[in-house]
Amino acid sequence: MVGRKKRKGNKTVVNVVLGIICFIWLLPTLGLFISSFRPAADILQTGWWKVFPHQEWKAGETVQLSKDVDLREPIEVNGTTYTDDQLKAGVTEGDKRLVWENRRARTINMQERGWEVKPDFTLDNYKNVLSGKEYKLKLGDGSETVQKGTGLSQAFWNTLTIAVPATIIPVLIASFAAYAFAWLRFPGRKTLFVIIIAMLVIPIQVALIPILKDYTALGLNGSYLGIWLAHTAFGLPLVTYFMYNFISQLPKDLFESAFIDGASHFTIFSRLILPLSVPALASIAIFQFLWVWNDYLVSLIFIGNQPNVQVMSMKIADLVGSRGNDWHLLTSAAFISMLMPLTIFFLLQKYFVKGLMGGSVKG
């Protein structure tokens, strides 16, 4: 009994420690999420945590000093003297704070501390980042500028057009190959398989240059086919390895009875193996899809400057480079690019996790 009680006491500690870790883990994403809904001027002026209730100095009474006060001399306000620098930064006096309201007009504001929430939320950031149209932006000091949108919606469709086939093609090719490696006997089987497994750890940088040359010669650069093929090649080792692990574990009698019934290998594969492998196919497909969706390097090299095939990661990286302080665009763009992966993650978490484990721990 004593032992059990002790472990229960530990449990509170465990819960608290884990809670703190989870909070830290969530904090960066939370900041991005909240910021993406704030008006552009607000993001640049105050931290995103200011949307929660917090104490802040608020404008109060105005004190008018005589117009000919010399700013180089100590300045007297209500019986106490301050320097100009102090009043520039603001001095706390009891529960009040004194700060220049208008230095030239010699007015001082007596700020009071009070609770404040910044409840302004807007969808404008999303609108502006998705469309390619020009829009007006109100800045913190009240002035307005005209900026051009990012046109992220086109990039969204491009990413999807690349990601769906770049998921299905390698998964199908790998499944066919895995079936042959597992259940057909042919010369060169072992060698071929070991080579494919060895490819698992090859850094893709090694392959980029020659592929780029071939693509340029064939006119595949910046084309959907080119990028599908590249993603297929880079994903194939892992997917084959994973599908092999699954397909080779299927019971042997299954094939034999089908074979006796006169089914060809192709029929067995498409009518028997594929339906039976749905859990494995789903998990590795999710993994490959996320990999392609999130990819930056491969697109950067094989799409290059082709504007109408650009994917979201490239657009966002461009934004970071060229307009790194436009947080209203950056935060909403990043969040749009995360929408799809996060949806998939939360809906299909079980499969996603399985896909990860199949690739890295087996036996």
């Binding site: 819960n15 086939p165 199908l172 698992l200 240059i209 999130n294 990286a317």
Partner: protein
């Protein structure tokens, strides 16, 4: 049955399979040209392209299988496996194996790949100050990043296992895995954001100023510590991966062994180091290898956060710069080969592990 004379291969079958091959090339070639020159609206292009990619690949297998079925049994049995593994082999051969060899070849040539220079590129690389920085940073990434991901992952897996909200906690830690490096870069740029003065909109500087510290430009000013601030992003993203796998492994530790140890009076810490760690050691090795390989190739984080400036260059970003900005093909290729050499031991360990598991 098998003792019968082998039937002859009919001329018709040969012609038919040739036709299938040519038809495939023609159809997909035409579709490719259509997409390259089309000016359809993007949504329609997307729909057609997806249809082509998905239906096309199945149709290729289907038609080749059909062609093979025109042959007598003994030929079919020999050819069919190659129809199944053929596309995989072709794609890998063309886009991974051959390129690796060609890159190796290019690395012995000069910048414009027209003059053989022997090992000059390799010599240049190891005397280059920039590469020294890149190598040092890569080591830092591999060492600090892997160590932190593995140990944090293990710690969180164990904590989650004993907590009362395991599922939610694991989801939260794991979530960054689904986020792209580019988006993660934006998230963390915002965390590290610096502007002079007291009012900070980046949370790290806000915390620092709240406690009376001076705000810092974390990723650009603080050298060489800025590398650690980039590595934190990797840790944030990859710990979830390690955690999920460790969590599964820990659940595989038989409960009766743990109970027996507890009855014998072993503390939780002793159980952890004495029983759990040895029990899941293979898993630890695999996870460590995976993360090492991953960090060796790190590119996106550095590219998005600093572009390799402020002494944060790694080998992969160096490679990108040399090849695509300075057009120095020989040097770029050499860098890629250096990366390959760096992961070679890992390939060997993996293959050995695979053989031990009875893979083949």
């Amino acid at each position: 049955m098998s003792t019968q004379a082998k039937p002859r291969i009919s001329m018709k079958a040969v012609l038919l399979s040739l036709l299938v091959l040519l038809a495939n090339i023609a159809v997909h070639g035409l579709i490719f040209l259509f997409f390259r020159d089309s000016t359809l609206n993007p949504l329609l292009t997307a729909v057609f392209a997806v249809l082509w990619g998905v239906v096309g690949i199945y149709q290729i297998y289907y038609s080749f299988n059909w062609a093979v079925e025109q042959y007598p049994e003994h030929v079919r049995r020999k050819v069919l496996p190659y129809v199944f593994v053929g596309p995989a082999t072709l794609v890998l051969g063309w886009l991974l194996i051959l390129p690796a060899l060609r890159t190796l070849y290019l690395s012995f040539f000069n910048a414009s790949s027209d003059k053989f220079v022997g090992l000059a590129n390799y010599a240049a690389i190891f005397t280059d100050r920039l590469l020294a920085t890149a190598l040092r940073n890569n080591l830092l990434w591999v060492f600090v990043g892997t160590l932190a991901c593995v140990s944090l992952g293990l710690l969180i897996a164990i904590l989650a296992d004993r907590s009362s909200y395991e599922r939610i906690a694991k989801s939260i830690i794991f979530m960054p895995m689904a986020i792209s490096f580019v988006a993660a870069g934006v998230i963390w740029k915002f965390v590290y954001y610096y502007q002079p003065g007291d009012e900070q909109i980046g949370i790290l500087n806000a915390i620092v100023t709240f406690f009376g510290g001076e705000p810092q430009a974390w990723t650009s000013m603080l050298q060489p510590w800025n590398n650690f601030f980039l590595i934190i992003i990797l840790i944030w993203m990859q710990t979830g991966f390690a955690m999920v796998i460790f969590s599964a492994a820990i659940k595989g530790v038989p409960e009766d062994i743990l109970e027996a140890a507890r009855v014998d009076g072993a503390g939780e810490v002793k159980i952890f180091f004495g029983i759990m760690i040895p029990y899941i050691s293979t898993t630890i090795l695999t996870v460590t290898t995976t993360i090492i390989v991953f960090t060796l190739k790190i590119f996106d984080v550095v590219m998005v956060m600093t572009g390799g400036q402020y002494d944060t260059e790694v080998v992969a970003t160096q490679f990108y710069r040399q090849f695509f900005m300075y057009r120095n093909f020989g040097y770029g290729s050499t860098l890629a080969i250096v990366l390959l050499i760096a992961v070679l031991p890992v390939i060997i360990i993996n293959l050995r592990q695979f053989r031990k598991q009875g893979g083949f």
